[in-house]
Symmetry: C2
Subunit: 316 residues, 2 copies
């Protein structure tokens, strides 16, 4: 028989705090077309949904739709598809996104929801940096820090589907306050917002500093300053990198996965972040765990999430 592919497309969506990404995929998971736009995260839920629907519909065009996978920055109730809590897109907390998407596309299309970091983890595992690994932990290094843990092709999401929250692992008891309310979380020491908090403090204390003069004040601008030799900027990256390395050492000793994949915008700082990180994990993880867990960058970049969101339709 074989040979004829089923006619149709999958749609992957990645709804984050700053960007809405959507892509159309072949039935085998090859990306055919993609769009990236602002996510209107400060708007109300209906605005966000309208933008999402418009982009999705445009990408699908006249194709036969086989299924939609959605990754969202937040905690998802996998049973109801409701968004339990989305710190970065507050308007979506409680919003029945899965049912609304399904209705909008006629009510018959399968729609899957998952956390955005979990979606990125599935993407890198099946189609990116983790392809040769049987177990993989993905860290998303962006404004916040997310995690996804894949074992033998299955996401480990824990008893309530909330696990792998590596950004909220305490690495510095009595350290800086985190947005989650605890102290010393990895995210409070090494994320984009943590770097900007530290940059703001320097700017306030030292208005003549190069950091005070940054405009706009972003992690990318901070990386450029450090690369140009600014001592204060270099120290911020050194400190953040050391804490990232401590978090990676913890994942090595606790989980010893085949690989740890680093993705997200902060990775653009490259050696500024990774050199002190490597120094830390090499001195802190057991030699047996660091020898058997490789650390590597993601290869799908910002498209890992849309690819991973449709993975459950493709099987292992």
């Amino acid at each position: 028989m074989g040979g004829e592919e089923p006619d149709g497309v999958f749609l992957g969506i990645d709804l984050g705090g700053s960007q809405l990404k959507a892509a159309r995929f072949s039935p085998e998971g090859a990306r055919e077309a993609a769009e990236n736009t602002a996510s209107q995260a400060s708007g109300d839920a209906e605005d966000i949904f309208s933008a999402l629907y418009a982009h999705a519909a445009a990408l699908i065009g006249g194709s036969h739709l086989l299924g939609i996978g959605v990754g969202v920055a937040g905690l998802i109730d996998s049973g109801s598809g409701r968004i339990l809590n989305s710190p970065n897109i507050p308007a979506l907390s409680g919003f029945p996104l899965r049912d609304r998407v399904r209705e909008a596309f006629g009510g018959e299309i399968p729609v899957l929801m998952m956390n955005d970091a979990n979606a990125a983890a599935l993407g890198e595992y099946f189609a990116g940096a983790g392809k040769s690994c049987s177990s993989m932990f993905l860290l998303t290094l962006g404004t916040g820090i997310g995690g996804g843990f894949v074992i033998d092709g299955n996401l480990w999401t824990g008893a309530a589907g909330v696990g792998a929250e590596a950004g909220h692992m305490c690495v510095r008891a009595d350290g800086p306050l985190c947005r989650c309310g605890a102290r010393g979380c990895l995210e409070a020491c090494v994320s984009g917002w943590a770097l900007m908090r530290d940059a703001d403090q320097i700017a306030k204390r030292d208005p003549e500093s190069a950091i005070a003069g940054m405009s706009p004040r972003t992690p990318l601008a901070l990386a450029e300053l450090a690369t140009a030799g600014d001592r204060q900027a270099r120290t911020l990256w050194e400190n953040a990198g050391a804490m990232l390395g401590t978090g990676i050492a913890n994942l090595m000793n606790l989980l010893n996965p085949d690989c740890i994949v680093l993705t997200g915008g902060l990775g653009e700082a490259g050696a500024l972040l990774l050199k002190p990180a490597r120094r830390a994990w090499e001195s802190q993880a057991f030699k047996e765990t660091r020898a058997s867990t490789s650390v590597k960058p993601g290869v799908l970049g910002e498209w890992a999430g849309v690819r991973g969101a449709i993975q459950p339709f493709l099987g292992k």
Copy 2:
């Protein structure tokens, strides 16, 4: 047909830094006889092995031996059954314990080796506090801190079989030096040796203190002092408990298992340790993770390891 049980026994052995425990089990895993003796951990490997063999042989008596399971404090190479590294029983590092046990019992008996905390985790999962859980993380709170992670009846031991080393998760960057060489590991903040290190410092600084007068200076004596109202002793338990709670919050947020089981001698301190620990994890873990991960004491006590060591023979 049915009804007739296969004639024979399993032998479980738990070789720790201070005690050698051995027990005889029915083919269904019921404990029939057990022995507990000093492990001669400071002797050479042959002394340790001779003691182990003598106790094992006595327990087996004339019974038909079906298999031997051994849990050892150290990193085990599951392929060769060789002990890679045993910080608490240095003489065993590199010792081919599995082959020696097999030869001593005639060369035909299946012999399984695993890390002692992993053995305890299997014991509590299949025959103890974790019986109703699908995923369970076990923390052994003793002289050191060990861990074992069971998912759907399988131990998660990672890429090199070394995972679940929860004692060497950093929770306090720049904290006290750990025996592993890193700083601020959970074990360096909350284990038996960490408490004794702190007690020794107090005794040195304040020779008139009740802590200086403790004889012998043990965690149990420190718990008695605290229970009797000694302020310095209470503070040590408060601090250790708070860090234990931070470690538990990390396991909740990272792994969100159905349950976290606490076992080991330090647990005898009861509320001295658990009250501050609970305060810490309740303020630090996400409400979704702490609501879905229960924390409970082990029920097999010091016999969890011998029971778990034979679990692989029994199947799931």
